[in-house]
């Protein structure tokens, strides 16, 4: 049985599954229910200065998939709306009762050193394992000069991180905003400031849709709305990409990463870990299905690790990083061509329609006497784009088979077709 425990920048946790700083970690009641369900750790919902934030009524909206399940989730909730005193007291009590679980406290303060210094002492006194700096909240708080307003300016990120390291012995995790052109810059800034780790991604600026009767977005507050923060399965590809950018940036390589963004099952978690994450944080899936999902996540990850012979998380952490590279380093001599398994084909013709209309006209259609169609690949026209494979609803019916012609690896920088190639 695989060992799921982690030591993330000195924070020990029986498994890599943490609840992200968000509504599910707002108070002792929820956090203790999460621990009871088996979560390895939580990042307590962001604390701010008193007086506590005040929230509006109507806070969430969602994007649904074809079956009506939530694929994207949007919120306009602010940081905790409870007083600092209550939160700190509860954190102290909970940590005392659950010493084996990770408890990290998320913080968001104005950019003043004394303010940070004061709060760090208070958090340290609770016995919490570390702090996460919320430089990512994209809605509401940036209007007050905090959250993403800090995260979008690398100099501020570095400055505040440095204060935190100076005034505290706790591990400092810097939570990054994806609402930025190049996520490597704030990550480098965090590292320069002395951050022990970064966590990403925070939510993405979003409007999930417009109610065409009310002519306003949801969530609607008295007929008006505002952009929120987007999360859930739909953001996973963006989060994975940003995680990989930081993992393979020479300037931040090796900087511990806590992966966040659309994680809902063990596979999602394993993917973030393969791209270098040392812990993963979950929110939307728990908000939709409840805390019990961690059971299947732990079980699934453990079973998969056993099947692969990985004994602990470090055994596969970062294994996909070297295989994530720049476009210019891809092998120009590699070639795949689609193959259709006629026995499996159900005759829907989606591959033909897609290739004919929008791709390379590499699929033939032949009408049979019984009114059905048979589809075939024109090898010479197929560029190996995978579109047909993607449209095919049948497992393993269309496969992309390698047809490289024995030529050695050659990337774009070496390719004679590249007018700007670097001469050897």
């Amino acid at each position: 049985m695989a060992d799921l425990s982690i030591d993330f920048v000195g924070i020990k946790s029986p498994n890599p599954f943490w609840l992200a700083s968000a509504p599910p970690t707002d108070k002792a009641y929820n956090v203790e229910r999460a621990y009871e369900a088996g979560w390895g750790g939580v990042v307590w919902k962001t604390l701010g200065e008193d007086p506590a934030a005040v929230n509006v009524s109507s806070r969430y909206s969602a994007l649904y998939d074809h079956n009506g399940d939530v694929s994207g989730f949007n919120n306009i909730e602010l940081i905790t709306d409870r007083s600092l005193e209550i939160n700190l007291r509860e954190i102290t009590e909970v940590k005392k009762r659950w010493p084996d679980r990770a408890l990290v406290v998320s913080l968001m303060m104005p950019c003043e050193e004394q303010v940070w210094k004061r709060i760090l002492k208070l958090v340290e006194a609770t016995g919490a394992d570390g702090v996460e700096l919320n430089f990512g909240c994209p809605h509401g708080m940036p209007e007050r000069g905090m959250g993403a307003a800090v995260g979008q300016v690398p100099e501020y990120v570095e400055m505040v991180t440095r204060w935190c390291k100076q005034h505290s012995k706790m591990p400092v995790i810097v939570k990054l905003t994806p609402n930025i052109t190049d996520v490597r810059l704030p990550a480098r800034a965090a590292k320069s400031g002395g951050a022990d780790a970064v966590s990403l991604i925070n939510t993405i600026n979003s409007i999930t849709g417009i109610d065409l009767d009310a002519m306003a977005a949801r969530p609607m507050v008295d007929g008006k709305s505002t952009h929120g923060g987007y999360c859930g399965p739909a953001v996973k590809p963006i989060a994975l990409s940003m995680t990989s950018e930081i993992a393979r940036d020479p300037e931040t390589a090796g900087l511990p990463i806590s992966g966040i963004g659309g994680i809902g099952n063990w596979k999602d978690a394993a993917e973030f870990i393969a791209l270098g994450a040392g812990s993963v944080q979950v929110c939307t899936a728990a908000m939709i299905y409840g805390f019990n999902i961690v059971e299947e996540m732990k079980e699934g990850l453990s079973n998969w690790m056993d099947s692969k012979g990985y004994e602990n998380i470090n055994d596969f952490k970062g294994l996909a990083v070297p295989n994530t590279t720049d476009w210019k380093k891809l092998n120009m001599n590699y070639k795949v061509v689609a193959t259709i398994d006629e026995d499996k084909c159900i005759g829907c013709g989606r591959c033909y329609q897609a290739c004919e209309d929008t791709s390379h006209q590499a699929i033939t259609v032949t009408s049979n006497d019984d009114g059905t169609n048979t589809f075939g690949i024109i090898d010479d026209n197929c560029v190996g784009c995978n579109l047909c494979e993607i449209t095919c609803p049948v497992d393993d019916c269309i496969t992309m088979d390698e047809r490289s012609e024995g030529q050695p690896y050659m990337n774009w920088m070496e390719d004679v077709r590249n007018p700007h190639r670097e001469e050897a």
Binding site: N67, G68, I346
Partner: protein
């Protein structure tokens, strides 16, 4: 259902409606949403090819999925103005749903096309009729028979700008939808609502209780109108050729179903209490057997001289009968109708059959089934009115049609069950009416195609 009807519901009628609730309930909006997501939006979709009326099925399902029920219903009505009843009575298991590619993949479950079609047609809302008539052609066409073929033809002709007079022998339009379909398949007076919907296009005048050969003649119609469409259906029940067949308890199933569908009171029906025998193997046989069970007949035995494989009722229909606990006896042919001294039917005698060199033979085994009523459902025949002078060529007992539903008489077209094409399905009748209308219009006017495009895209 109009208001007057609903307030005058008697207890008896409520009981009757309860007894004949929809066998295949409608999808909820949520179910339709999920079901519509299952359509693969196939290229050269097999379901369209399998639909006799060529409805663009993937398109209407995509519209349902995008919450555009109006668009979905319009797509359906463009090809099949009786899309509502077809959604209910089509044997989709041998048509669109049989062709659905999802039968062949791991899920092995076709998209519920019929129920989705019903969802669209039941819930779409139109202000007035969905289509606008083309500019008047000044042409007048006579349609004989207001069943699915006649109504479909009349509607399409009107859409194209022609005026139509429909002559109907009964006092209601709808044909078998009104008088012949099992009550649990078309509930809540749906047939009449659909007729009203079709006629709401305008330009169609229905003359009720006006029968060919009695009140009108083909010769006169040819003279008075620019073209004629015959959709007179099938009037006669095939015979068993047995003694006592004229006994009052040897009943034509179609007559009984008609009576049942029109009944407002259970007391109007003569329901066999203990036992009934149904002879036949088509959907009418299944319909009558199941309806007898619902009416309370204790034992219903359906007897067919060949095997289940040869039954023209689909497997799905056979299953419905089994679900109703109808006893099905195959390989048994009727030998006699047994009557007591008072002339009361007491049962039927059968002989077991078998196939030899492809021929059906009577075996040695004989058996009796006690019953107080016998329902014949061995097929319907056309009875072209004797009084008629002008008769189109009849072939195999039905009106022969050539290209585009034209009969042997110039300017006279025909469609529906009275012609020999297809399996006498409602959806086929609708298609034949539609094709005939397009052909008639083409013959009388120019460029139907242009007009059709304009009218349908309005």
């Amino acid at each position: 259902m109009n208001k007057d009807n609903s307030v005058s519901y008697s207890q008896q009628q409520l009981a009757l409606n309860q007894m004949f609730k929809d066998i295949n309930p409608a999808l909820s909006a949520r179910q339709a949403g999920i079901e519509s997501s299952r359509c693969y939006y196939c290229y050269d979709a097999p379901c369209i090819k399998a639909c006799p009326s060529k409805i663009n099925i993937p398109s209407f399902i995509a519209s349902i999925h995008a919450d555009d029920l109006t668009g979905a219903a319009k797509t359906i009505y463009k090809e099949n103005i009786m899309g509502g009843s077809c959604a209910r009575v089509c044997p989709t298991e041998i048509l669109c749903e049989q062709a659905c590619v999802r039968n062949h993949e791991a899920e092995q479950l076709p998209v519920k096309i019929g129920l989705l079609q019903r969802h669209a047609t039941d819930n779409a809302e139109f202000e007035g009729h969905p289509f606008e008539r083309a500019a008047s052609t000044g042409k007048r066409i006579a349609v004989v028979g207001a069943g699915p073929a006649g109504l479909s033809c009349a509607h399409r002709l009107s859409l194209l700008g022609n005026d139509v007079d429909v002559f109907e022998a009964e006092d209601k339009a709808g044909g078998l939808n009104e008088y012949g379909i099992a009550k649990y398949k078309l509930t809540e007076n749906f047939a009449q609502k659909e007729v009203d919907f079709i006629l709401s296009i305008g330009g169609i005048t229905v003359h009720y209780e006006t029968a060919l050969g009695r009140d009108i003649t083909l010769e006169q119609l040819k003279e008075d109108f620019d073209a004629v469409f015959l959709s007179i259906g099938l009037q006669d029940t095939s015979s068993l050729y047995l003694d006592n067949e004229d006994n009052e308890m040897v009943i034509n199933s179609v007559d009984y179903i008609k009576e049942l569908r029109q009944a407002t009171d259970l007391k109007q029906l003569d329901i066999p209490k203990d036992s009934a025998v149904v002879i036949g193997a088509g959907n009418t046989a299944i319909d009558i057997a199941c309806q007898l069970k619902r009416l309370g007949t204790e034992e219903v035995t359906l007897v067919y001289r060949r095997g289940e494989e040869q039954m023209s009722a689909t497997k799905h229909e056979q299953q419905i009968a089994k679900n109703h606990q109808v006893r099905i006896k195959t390989w048994s042919q009727p030998e006699s109708i047994d009557v007591d001294d008072n002339g009361k039917v007491t049962g039927m005698s059968f002989r077991k059959t078998y196939l030899e060199d492809g021929k059906l033979k009577g075996g040695d085994v004989q058996f009796d089934v006690a019953c107080s009523a016998i329902f014949k459902a061995v097929g319907q025949k056309m009875a072209y009115p004797d009084a008629e002078q002008l008769i189109p060529t009849i072939s195999n007992g039905k009106i022969a049609t050539f290209h585009n539903q034209l009969t042997s008489i110039d300017g006279v077209f025909a469609g529906g069950d009275c012609t020999g094409v297809g399996q006498d399905l409602t959806v086929e009748a609708v298609q034949q009416g539609k094709l005939a209308a397009i052909a008639i219009n083409e013959q009388l006017n120019v460029s139907t195609t242009t007009k059709l495009q304009t009218a349908l895209s309005a």
